[in-house]
Amino acid sequence: MDYMYSGLILVVDLESGETEEVDLEEEFIRENLGGAAANLALYEEYKDRDPMILGSGFFTGTLISGSALGIATAKSPVTGKVAHSPLAWFFGPELKLSGYDFVVICGKSEKPVYLWLHDEMADIKEAGELWGKDTWETTDFLRNELGDDRVQVLTIGKAGENQVKNAQLINNYWGSGDKFGFGAIFGKKNVKALALRGMGELELDDPEAFLEKDMELLGKVKESVSGKKVEWLAEKAGISLEGLDPFIHRNTACFNCPLPCRPYVKYNEVSTVMSSTRVAEPGVLVSDLYGMAAFNKKLDMEVSLRAIEKCCRVGIDQVVAGSLIKNTELDDVLREIDSMVPGESDTSDIKPWDKDFDYGAFGSFCPPLTDDWKEKVAISYILGICPILLSAVPELSKEVLVEMINVTTGWDTTVENLDSVVSKLIG
């Protein structure tokens, strides 16, 4: 199979507890390319069964720079409309290489469950003992239970379990690009987590030609992003990082990305400690600059960072929690975040993004870095390349991406075809 996919769609029926494998036809990928556009087509096909779709982009898991993105698509509890949440870090590649390019989760389970996908096998497993655990405990438990630290986990905390409107899907331990309350959908479905391990492979049409073009492209990408880190992203997004520097341990990157825009910060040990010490939980990954800024407007930086950890553990959107927070002392702040996650709490007046910009169905994972933000993000969500990288690198143009599609598949698709798929998302 040489159209950049493993070849299977998994349909999970939570009502019956059964799973079904559907062949991923080449024609479907030619029509939709992948990612959010393919998710949307699957959403329409299964919409009578209250679906959430988890999908990988066309280039997800490949050697094209920034190929980290997976996409979740569902009707948002926040907006009431169908929306797409990007799942970066290592989720997308792990999903595609698990053997399932797309997962359609239908209905609601009677009891708490988690899904375990690996080696073209899908299990629905009881999660009674996981329900009530925070996301860090859940990821630790699953990695231990499944015997592999490289298992990627999408999970919910108390906010999701209690179906709080702004509950966020948490990726392993960290906040994700879910700005649409998809954590509440996991909660409603009684799904505590999805665990993935990808040990498959993706074939391509012309490996030699691909490698030559990819190396040439990587050279240009590296030149474009040279020296760019979180400081660049923050400046472009209009966010102050004042006070963050003493906490930064190392800048990290998502899968195969040359732009390490995610700083890991330490506050439970000195940030310059590079070895693995006995401090099991030294800090947190800053994955949402808007979330950090929402806290840091009111709190000092250390309390802000500890508040981010708390949001990750209970699985609530950091921008929403940061906007709602009234206390300033650490213990009070942590208690206040806890008070936001019972089901009866109302977060509905708070939008999880900057109100001055229309993020539509895509959310604020990628700040408005370019004038053609909407098209860039749509292409990114379809092809599985991080929108931040796509915005930072002019050389990752539509023409170049189409050329890479053709080299990997042997097709003769065009920019017009890509535009037509993009128009399915942005009209």
């Binding site: 492979e201 990290t252 998502c254």
Partner: protein, 113 residues
């Protein structure tokens, strides 16, 4: 020909895993991570990461603390991963017979030709 200490600069690494993908691509011309002679070692909650390279009769470890050969450490549990293919069962690095794809495709130049 195989990877040497001079080929790794661990503190330039951002943990992206491109090296694994590059190595598997050299082996089989597919996108995969499982056939690689290079493996990321990660303790995610601590943001502790480095690479392990299977070389002849040994492991080359590139970690934040430094670079060393470690055949004893290669048997420890955390460097295997029960559902993955243990690093010791993987093919030994041969520098892609001169192509050194992991270095060419490392976006941070943490692996050097």
């Amino acid at each position: 020909m195989q990877m040497e200490k001079k080929n790794i600069e661990p503190m330039k690494c951002t943990g992206c895993g491109a090296c694994e993908l590059a190595c598997s691509f050299y082996r089989d011309e597919v996108f995969s991570t499982i056939r690689s002679s290079v493996m990321m070692h990660k303790e995610e909650k601590k943001n502790y990461f480095g690479i392990m390279v299977k070389v002849v009769d040994d492991l080359l470890l590139g970690r934040p603390e430094g670079i060393e050969f470690d055949s004893e450490g290669s048997k420890s549990k955390e460097q295997e991963g029960a559902s993955g293919k243990p690093i010791l069962m993987r093919e030994e690095c041969d520098m892609c017979k001169g192509k050194v794809l992991c270095a060419k495709l490392c976006p941070m130049e943490s692996i050097i030709e």
